[in-house]
Amino acid sequence: MSTSADEFAKVAAKASGGINVTGVTKRFGDFVALDDVSIDVPDGGLTALLGPSGSGKSTLLRVIAGLEQPDEGQVLISGENTTDRRVQDRNVGFVFQHYAAFKHMTVFDNIAFGLKIRGQGTGKIRERVKQLIELVHLQGFEKRFPNQLSGGQRQRMALARALAVEPKVLLLDEPFGALDAKVRQELRTWLRHLHDDVHVTTIFVTHDQEEAMEVAEQIIVMNDGRVEQSGGPRDLYEDPASEFVMGFVGPAHRLGESWVRPHDVEIRHEPNGKTIEALIDRVVHLGFEVRVELTLQDGETFSVQLTREQVDELELKDGQIVFVRPKSSRTFSPDGTVPATVA
C-alpha cells in the first residue's frame, strides 16, 4: 500500500493545501467506527471515499469537517492542525445526502447564508450569489423555496451554498445518493466539470464503485473502519490489494482458489486440460454486452461477460455444456489481505 505514489501524495499534501488524517480512531459506545485511519488527500484533488455502509466512510468525512470529534489521532487541513477546532472555524464546505436545505429560506437566501454570517455587504453578497447561481445553473430559481425544486436542483443549491464561503475543502457525503439514476448520472458528470473549474480540494463519500471510478482521481476504499487500499481507479481495479477490494471495486467471482473478473474468462466447446466444465444457465443479451450465466459441477454459479460477436461465433445457447478457463486471475493469502499470485 505504501507505494512511491502514496509517498508523493503525502508530501504534496503537506507542502500545499490538502488534507492529512493521521491515526484517527472514533468509537460510538462499543462500536469502533474508525480504527486508526490515516489518509492523505492532495491539494486540489478530487478523492472518493468508497465503501459499503457501516465502513466508516461517512464518519471519517464528518471527523474531517469537525462535525464529529475523533477519540484519537489528528486532522490537518492545508498543513494546519484543525483537530480541536470547531466546525465553524474550519472553513469547510459540507454537502449532505439529503440536501439539508434551509427550507424556510429562498434559494438566494440559502446560498447567501454563509456570506451574511461573515458580515459581507448586500451588494457584494448579491454579486457573489449571482455568480454561484450561474455556476450551478439555477438562474431564475432565486426566489423559489427548496420544496419547489427537484432533488437535483436542491443538491446543486446546497453545493452553491457550500462553495459560497470559498471553503478550503469541499466535503460531500453521498451527494447523489437520494437522487434517481438519470439525475445521478448527470450530476456526476457535472461535478467532474465543476471540479475542473473550481479546483477546490474535494472528498466525496460513495458506496457506488462506478461513481467513484467515474468521478474521482484518487479512491480510498474503506471497510470495517479501516482503509483497505488507496490509489487511482485503474490501480484499484487491476491491482487490488485484498479480496475485499477485488470484490468491491468492479465485479469479481471466486473460481476455485482464485478470483477472476467476468471479462477475463475464456469459454470453449472442447476441454484442453486447463479448463473446467460448466453448464450455461442463461445467455442474457444486454445490447453490445452479453452475460453468460454458468453453473460449475460443484454447484457454484458465476457469470462471464462477452461481446455479442464472441457469443455469435461460439453459438452459445441456454443448456449447453461448455469448458471455461480464467485468462487471468488473482489469489490472496488465506486471510484475504495479501495478494499471493497473479496468474
Binding site: 469537517a65 469537525g66 462535525l67 470547531r86 466546525v87 465553524q88 472555524d89 474550519r90 472553513n91 469547510v92 464546505g93 459540507f94 449532505f96 439529503h98 439539508a100 436545505a101 434551509f102 427550507k103 424556510h104 447564508f113 454563509g114 454570517i117 461573515r118 423555496f145 427548496p146 420544496n147 419547489q148 446546497a158 451554498r161 457550500a162 459560497a164 464561503v165
Partner: protein
Amino acid sequence: MGLRAPFGGEVLVRGTVLMWLSIIVLIPLGAVVFRSFDEGAGAFWEAISEPEAVAAIKLTVITSLVIVVINALMGTLIAWVLVRDEFPGKRIVNSIIDLPFALPTIVAGLTLLALYGNDSPIGVNVTYTKVAVGLALLFVTLPFVVRAVQPVLHELDEEMEEAAASLGASNFRIFRSIILPNLTPAIIAGCALAFARAIGEFGSLVLITGNIPFDTQVASVYIFGRIESDNTTAAAAVAVFLLVLSVVILFALNLFGRWRSRHERG
C-alpha cells in the same frame, strides 16, 4: 385515490355529517347569537358595553394575552428539553404535561386553592387576586404550545443545523436563523389554541378568583352570573363576543396555515 362511498352513498354520508355538525355545533351557536339580539341591536350594544361586562372582558382578554406570551416562551423551552435532552425521568415529565388537560378543571381549581389558598402550606396566598386568574390559566393551558412544538422539533432536520454550523454560524445564530423560524408556525398554532382555551376558561377560575366584579371576574363567570340573575340577553351578548373572538382566531390560524403551506414543507 382512496376509498370512496359507493355511488349515491356519498350524498347520504355528506348529509349525515352536515346534520350532525348542525345539531351539535351550528344550531346551538345560532341560537346564542339569535338570543343575544332578542331585544334588538340596541339592547345587545347596551349589554356588551355595560361597565361590569367590559371589565370582565378586558380582564379575560388581557390576562389571556399575557399567559399566551409566557406559554410561548416556557412551552418552547419545555418542548426543547423534552426533545433534545436526555435525563432520567424524562418519560414521566412528558406524561405530566398532559395532566392539566386531562384533569377536570374544577379539580385543577381545587388543587391551586390547596397550594395558594388561605391556608397555603408554602405561605403564598393569591386567592381573590388577578395573579390567581393568570396562575389558573397558565395551569390549564400548559400543554398547548408544548404539544404543538414537540413534534415539529422532533422532525426538524438536524443536518440543517450542521450545515449552518459548517457555514460558520454560532449556536445562537443557528437557533435564531434556523431553528426558531421553523418552530414559529407551531408556536403560533399552540398559542392560538391556548388563547382560545383561556378566554373561555371557567372551572379552574371559579373557586380561586373570588369572582369580584371589576377586579377578578372573568367573562365566563360573568356570563354564569347573568344567567343566574335571569339576564339572558346580557349573558348571550358576552357569549357572542367570546364566540366571535374564537372564530376570528381559528380563521386567522387557518389562513396562516394556508399561506405557510404554499412554500416550505417537504
